[in-house]
């Protein structure tokens, strides 16, 4: 049984039919990437999974249990964390408070403290700025904070919406390294990316979404060599 099994979901914004029957699966331990152009429905897919935008039809099974009936905070308790598009850090709270909120659902003080050290180990820049108000961090530092905060929840499934957006190339590499590292430590990842080449180079499998529908699915290696993908998403002729 796959860890996440999305079957034929239809999600709307009012009358706008944003997802028209999306199905995808993520196996335990995988990095799966969802690529597609602007407005294709990538963010909407992630919002449907974590309960912020409920699908009107279809099912989203996590370990066989349908998530559609649950509220977002209950879905977090089931082990799903998200790094939202545009980072979504709490600008008026400090770096430390943001990270604490990442661990909001946890009660194991010792484990939280260890994970905090772990996150500071990955992003030493955050450690230097624990008391700083998050709104004054640079864009890259905010991305580190958003990623670190999601890790604090100890998710089994991590949804990441364009973690490389607006970052300098060096930082993009660093973030992708982190994604691989946490994946190797056992976190399953569903990664949405504009930077399709990078995403495909670290993912196991990938899906291509176009105007609310999955048009292609394959292993990452095959997608990288796929004619259509190369033209449309990798910008390679």
């Amino acid at each position: 049984m796959p860890m996440l099994d999305i079957h034929d979901i239809h999600t709307y914004y009012g009358n706008i039919h944003a997802l028209k029957g999306v199905s995808l699966t993520v196996e335990e331990g995988e990095i799966v990437t969802l690529i597609g152009s602007n407005g294709a429905g990538k963010t909407t897919t992630l919002r449907s999974i974590c309960g912020l935008q409920k699908p009107r039809r279809g099912s989203i099974l996590l370990h066989g249990e349908d998530l559609v009936a649950y509220k977002p905070h209950q879905i977090v308790e089931k082990g799903v964390a998200m790094v939202p598009e545009g980072r979504g850090i709490f600008a008026r709270l400090t770096v430390a408070e943001n990270l604490d909120l990442g661990a909001y659902i946890r009660r194991d003080r010792r484990g939280i403290q260890e994970d905090l050290e772990h996150v500071y180990g990955i992003f030493p820049r955050l450690k230097e700025r624990t008391r700083q108000v998050a709104g004054t961090l640079s864009g890259g530092e905010q991305q580190m904070l958003a990623t670190g905060r999601a890790l604090m929840a100890q998710p089994r499934l991590l949804l990441m919406d364009e973690p490389s957006m607006g970052l300098a190339p060096l930082l993009v590499d660093a973030i992708f390294d982190v994604i691989q590292t946490i994946n190797r430590k056992g976190t399953t990842i569903l990664l949405v990316e504009q930077n399709a080449l990078m995403a495909l180079s670290i993912a196991h499998r990938g899906y291509v979404i176009q105007t609310g529908e999955i048009v292609l699915k394959d292993t990452a290696a095959n997608l990288k060599n796929n004619e259509t993908v190369r033209k449309a998403y990798l910008g390679i002729e």
Partner: protein, 361 residues
């Protein structure tokens, strides 16, 4: 290529009006201060001390109520216009508890006079509990179904809820003004006597209780918001509800708890009001409610320290203002609302807070 000239700064008409009004008000205030303090002093130090004491007491009650406005605004971006009526409910809760305590015989007299500490504590607990409960249901019934509606809608619902609560109280308790039955040791008007400038100035027991208790409650509230898990969740929800939910925060639960806390503080304020000023009736929350709203805007709506400062400041201004301006004491409400208007014109962000605007929804 000609060097581009910097465009001339255009002064907008309203800025001229602002400046003229501002300078006018400030100038007049200085002139009045000079007159009453130095030019031809109307009052002695002892009278000013009396004004200050009254202002501090009133101000600390305003501050407690104002916190409720600010917490709810911070989290839902709406003005809970029924908040004053929650205070009224709290005042009644304390009233009936003290009435009951007076009617129970104990220690040769009655429970209230024999065990004043227990009686007052019970009055506060009852007032706080019933007001907190009312706040909880107010949100659940009048505001929650309208979540996501345009901002005017919950505002109208709030005014409706306020009218409902006032009428319900009138129906239940009648329209007459009732005298708060203070325990004998807390008799209104009695207090420590200070001698200032050769004259006696009373520092009322009920007033001291009010100031001390509200300061304690404010410190506790501030610690709760800044130091606890719930406080952190409240601040997160206030900033971004969706991301807060992604942290695993039960957003609806936090909103409920915010109304419970706001209601509890208003309930405590209601009992203080009753103990110190003495009269309760169905409309008793209206004026303090509007005053506290003014205080919250003055301090900067959404800001907790702002509400505290705004409340104390408004209380002082109200009791010192008529004397400074040399106008009738019955015009103190005019001063309070005049300040509201001036703040909204000159500094809608208040002393420390964020603007009362449309953007941050």
């Amino acid at each position: 290529m000609p060097i581009q000239k910097e465009p001339a700064r255009r002064v907008k008409p309203y800025q001229i009006i602002q400046a003229v009004t501002g300078i006018g008000c400030a100038g007049y205030l200085l002139y009045r201060l000079y007159t009453v303090l130095i030019g031809s002093p109307t009052y002695g130090t002892e009278t000013w001390a009396r004004f200050m004491i009254a202002g501090l007491i009133l101000g600390s009650v305003y501050a407690l109520i104002a916190i409720g406005y600010t917490l709810v605004y911070g989290i839902l971006r709406m003005i809970n216009f029924a908040h004053g009526d929650i205070m009224m409910i709290g005042a009644f809760g304390g009233y009936f508890t003290l009435e009951a305590a007076k009617s129970i015989p104990a220690g040769g007299s009655n429970f209230s006079d024999a065990y004043p500490f227990a009686a007052v504590l019970a009055a506060f607990l009852a007032g706080v509990a019933i007001a907190a409960l009312s706040g909880y249901f107010l949100e659940k019934i009048a505001y929650r179904p309208l979540r996501g509606a345009p901002r005017l809608v919950p505002l109208i619902s709030a005014i409706g809820a306020s009218i409902f609560l006032e009428n319900a109280a009138q129906l239940l308790f009648g329209a007459q003004r009732r005298d708060y039955a203070n325990p004998a040791v807390l008799t209104r008007g009695e207090g420590w006597t200070l001698v200032i400038n050769g004259a006696k100035v009373i520092l009322p027991y009920t007033g001291a209780l009010t100031v001390i208790l509200s300061l304690l409650l404010m410190v506790a509230l501030y610690m709760l918001v800044m130091r606890t898990r719930l406080g952190r969740a409240m601040r997160a929800v206030s900033e971004n509800k969706q991301v807060a939910a992604l942290m695993g925060i039960d957003v609806d639960g936090v909103i409920s708890q915010t109304f419970i806390i706001s209601g509890a503080l208003a309930g405590a304020a209601g009992v203080m009001w009753g103990l110190h000023l003495g009269l309760v009736y169905h409309f008793v929350g209206f004026i303090p409610g509007i005053k506290a709203f003014t205080a919250a805007v003055l301090g900067g709506i959404g800001s907790v320290p702002g509400a505290m400062l705004g409340g104390l400041f408004l209380g002082l201004v109200e009791s010192l203002g008529p004397a400074v301006l040399g106008i009738s004491f019955q015009l103190k409400d005019v001063i309070a609302f005049g300040i509201l208007v001036l703040v909204l014109i000159f500094r809608p962000t208040g002393i420390v807070g964020e603007a009362l605007t449309e953007e941050k929804v």
